[in-house]
């Protein structure tokens, strides 16, 4: 085998020999992310910024027998409140518009906020609103109080079952730990970055975080198969082959997501795409440095043990 081995140079050599030192990067990243999220939790009582669909907010229901352009009203209100999240929907009865609903994530405990919003609405539709033409409600989270607790428990269970499947599939425990750790790191580090960007998460954003599990698993299983199951060529050759396939996978998804981010007019799709893009970039480090490092340390030990046994026997 030794004479077939191509001489590695440059970054390939660095990647081949320094995998233990490189491991510091993903672990440091994970520790910083956990620290940042804890800090956020200590400061705000929540480990993420929630938008109106997760947190609730202020709703104004206006009853007005007049055709209102919902899209234009939405844009006008968004211009008036650039920092607030506002959505407008129409109310219909028997095929006719009978009014509209303005949902906003404004703090409803201050009367002045409400007054200002009502005033903005009435100037946007160029109709003064009388007291009996609108009602004001505070709405709670659309997902319910126990949603986050339930989701975290469900995700932890999902990780446990994923680990079990990977153990059964590869018949060794190490790759399973690496797969779980990579999926966990992907989600946690991405969440920390999303928090740093000040993005307010919607229900769609939560779905996007769960999508990361799928992408994370794909590259990890590819890597584990190539390193643990295949016997052709040297370890480094197989690793580079896996990297090539894995990077193509990530690149296609990144290109598709970036295009979707640029051309989407919908806030919902944009949020999903931002989270996917960050998550995929984070996953590159977690798969090709963290997961590779863990697997190689495991293979080194196994190899040394085998040599040890041979020399003894």
């Amino acid at each position: 085998m030794a004479e077939e081995k191509e001489v590695l140079t440059g970054w390939k050599k660095f990647y081949d020999t320094q995998y233990k030192k490189l491991l510091w990067l993903p672990f440091l990243m994970l520790v910083i992310a956990i620290f940042l999220i804890s800090l956020q939790y200590a400061r705000t009582g929540d480990f993420l910024y929630k938008d109106i669909s997760l947190k609730g907010g202020l709703t104004i229901t206006v009853f007005l027998e007049k055709d209102i352009d919902i899209g234009a009203l939405n844009q006008e209100l968004q211009r008036a409140y650039p920092d607030q999240e506002i959505t407008v929907r129409s109310l219909d009865s028997l095929g006719k518009q009978i009014g509209f609903i303005v949902d906003s994530d404004m703090d409803g405990s201050q009367e002045s906020n409400i007054g200002a919003l009502v005033l903005s609405v009435s100037s946007a539709i160029k109709t003064p609103l009388a007291q009996d033409q609108y009602t004001i409600e505070f709405i709670g989270s659309s997902l319910g109080a126990s949603f986050f607790r339930e989701t975290i428990v469900a995700v932890l269970f999902a990780f446990a079952f994923m680990g079990l499947v990977v153990i059964l599939y590869f018949r060794v425990a190490i790759p399973s730990l690496a797969v779980i750790l990579a999926a966990f790191s992907d989600i946690v580090v991405t969440l920390a970055i999303v928090n740093l960007m000040g993005i307010r998460l919607s229900t769609a954003g939560i779905a996007a975080f769960l999508m990361l599990i799928g992408y994370s698993v794909d590259t990890d299983i590819l890597l584990s198969t190539k390193l643990l199951k295949r016997k052709e060529g040297t370890l480094m050759e197989r690793l580079i082959e896996a990297t090539k396939t894995g990077m193509t996978m990530t690149a296609t998804t990144l290109v598709a997501s970036v295009l979707a981010l640029i051309f989407s007019e919908s806030e919902v799709i944009r949020q999903i795409m931002i989270i996917l893009i960050i998550g995929l970039l984070v996953d590159i480090i977690n798969t090709w440095i963290q997961n590779v490092g863990i697997l190689r340390i495991y293979l080194d030990r196994k190899h040394r043990q085998a040599v040890h046994h041979e020399s003894q026997g």
Binding site: T151, A154, I206, M211, D218, T225, K229, T248, T252
Partner: protein, 575 residues
């Protein structure tokens, strides 16, 4: 013919893909020129429910494209919802109109909406009465009916017309495919409910989850239930729900659902806690086979029955209270002296005679029966089964902790809407092109890039066909699931391509290359499926739709599209 093309279309895996695509298109049934307006629901006792011949009664499970569509009224073509409502508004009462639908023509008579005003003053009125008098006819005393007139004083009333009564059809723009759009995409009904008394936070949580469960058990799953409040500190519950009509929502949520079975003055069992099982399958629930449907007073009446199981404690309570009763014999059989009376929210819904041989016995299985009327046989069956479903729902989910009053009920437009769908289609197209371009940059072969593009689009079509077939609502979570299913699909096609190219270089057999690629693919498939299965069973509403779509999408990929792709690439790359 090019031998490669022939090889492609005779390959089993490719044929399976083509058949799946064909079935998907049949399930989606696209018709972008579908005209008219579709009937969502028919109000009971309205002119529409009395139409001749009757409308086929739509239900939530009817595929969108199979719904009856109105295309004209009298001689006027009707193509939009607004046109329909405008035309109906212009109609007068007590007129015969012809509703032309895609299934034929229905004749219906518009009804008048009247209001009776009762004044304080009185008027004299002559009424005729039938009285029985004793009379001597031919020397013998006989009872004879006589009609007599007399004058009485009654309060003065006036019947005022309020114009034509709503003809009772709820309609929406004709769908163009069988894909059901969810609350986020199509809108639905928004209901604001007010609890009778203020609730503590934990009671509110219980109420919210109870409402959600009740609607879910009834078969409505695309919904948002949340707490709301107003400036004066009133508490509300806001429900947004897709695909339901106002009547259903009212009937389900305006009832607290306190269900009780009493014998004499003793409550034997209560809904929710004492009922361990409610049968909903066809063998023990449905139109009562012994009583069936029949006419009475020019109306059709049907009876339903279904069985429930009681907890042992409730059965014991029943045994204790029946043991003190006496047996009464009647021509139809021997019964106990007190019947079992069923109450819903304090109102008696049914009274069941208890057979004599059940005296003092702890019976755990009970038949619940009831009946409903309708103007036609079909309507009666529909009403009866609907009533049964509602009662079953209440029995399964128990009562709400508090009575709710409906404050507002409105149709609400979607959060995302038509522009979103158009934009999403454009973005989907761009994303596919972007992914395919990246693949072309890596492999420099159209023979790889084009099949990958075809596979991605096939996955989308088969997934949408599946969604149409099982009738699940496409919402935001489902869209996220579709993205991930197709996204990981591309990942796996790259794995297949790389394994194929590598295998050809080192002269591996086709079988070995396929095995290599599918070892990786199945590994990530199993891992993803268990993760999603956990989210499906343990997670809350949003997670369920996401997990389900992801699993179905990934399964379609693993069993249909990816084997086909590997066959295509094998044939095209073979020299």
């Amino acid at each position: 013919m090019n031998p490669k093309v022939k090889k492609l279309f005779t390959n089993m895996r490719v044929i399976i893909l083509l058949v799946a695509l064909l079935l998907a298109v049949v399930a989606i049934r696209p018709n972008f020129w579908n005209e008219g307006i579709a009937i969502r629901s028919i109000l009971p006792n309205s002119s529409a429910s009395l139409a001749q011949p009757p409308f086929s009664q739509p239900n939530p499970n009817t595929p969108p494209m199979s719904r009856e569509r109105i295309i004209g009224i009298n001689n006027q073509p009707i193509l939009a919802v607004a046109e329909y409502y405008d035309y109906v508004e212009s109609l007068d009462s007590n007129r015969t109109i012809q509703l032309i639908t895609n299934k034929g023509s229905h004749t219906l008579i518009t009804q008048e909406n009247t209001e009776t005003i009762v004044y304080n003053d009185t008027v004299r009125k002559t009424i005729s009465e039938v009285i029985t008098v004793n009379e001597t006819i031919n020397g013998s005393l006989q009872e004879v009916n006589r009609t007599v007139s007399r004058v009485v004083e009654v309060p003065r009333t006036e019947v005022r017309s309020l114009g034509m009564k709503d003809i009772g059809l709820r309609v929406y723009e004709a769908p163009t495919t069988n894909i059901r759009k969810g609350l986020d995409l199509q809108g639905g009904t928004r209901v604001l409910l007010q609890p009778e008394e203020n609730l503590e936070p934990q009671d509110m949580d219980f109420l919210l989850s109870n409402i959600k469960e009740r609607l879910n058990v009834y078969g409505l799953s695309d919904l948002i239930v949340r707490e709301a409040g107003d400036l004066s500190g009133n508490q509300f519950v806001m429900v947004e729900i897709a695909g339901a009509n106002e009547e259903e929502v009212k009937a389900l949520l305006a009832k607290q659902g306190k269900f009780e079975g009493r014998i004499g003055n003793t409550t034997v069992f209560r809904g929710g806690q004492d009922i361990t099982y409610v049968c909903r399958s066809a063998d023990c629930a449905g139109i009562d086979p012994r009583r069936g449907c029949g006419t009475s007073d020019a109306q059709w009446v049907c009876a339903f029955s279904f069985s429930i199981a009681l907890s042992p404690e409730a059965a014991q309570r029943q045994a204790d209270s029946t043991s003190q009763l006496t047996v009464v014999s009647s021509p139809t059989g021997s019964y106990l002296s007190e019947p079992l009376t069923l109450f819903l929210d304090g109102q008696q819904v049914d009274q069941l005679n208890i057979a004599a041989d059940l005296k003092g016995r702890a019976v755990t299985e009970i038949q619940i029966t009831g009946s409903r009327a309708g103007a036609t046989n079909q309507e009666a069956v529909y009403n009866t089964l609907n009533d049964m479903k509602r009662l079953q729902t209440i029995l399964i989910t128990g009562s709400l902790p508090v009575k709710l009053e409906i404050k507002k009920i409105d149709a609400i437009s979607p959060m995302l809407g038509e522009e979103f769908i158009q934009n999403a289609l454009l973005i989907g197209l761009l994303a596919v092109l972007g992914a395919v371009a990246t693949i072309y940059v890596r492999y420099r072969k159209l023979r790889i890039a084009v099949p990958i593009a075809i596979t991605m689009v096939s996955e989308l079509i088969i997934l949408l066909g599946m969604a149409s077939l099982i009738g699940w609502n496409l919402d935001l979570a489902a869209i996220a699931g579709i993205i991930i299913a197709i996204g990981t699909g591309v990942d796996h096609q790259i794995v297949i391509t790389d394994e194929t190219l590598r295998g050809q270089n080192i002269f591996q057999s086709w079988k070995q290359r396929f095995k290599n690629a599918f070892f990786i693919i199945m590994g990530s498939y199993f891992t993803l499926v268990v993760a999603m299965a956990v989210l499906f069973f343990a997670g809350a509403g949003l997670l369920k739709g996401f997990a389900l779509t992801t699993v179905i999408g990934a399964s379609i990929g693993v069993f249909i599209t990816r084997p086909a792709y590997s066959a295509i690439i094998e044939i095209l790359l073979h020299d």
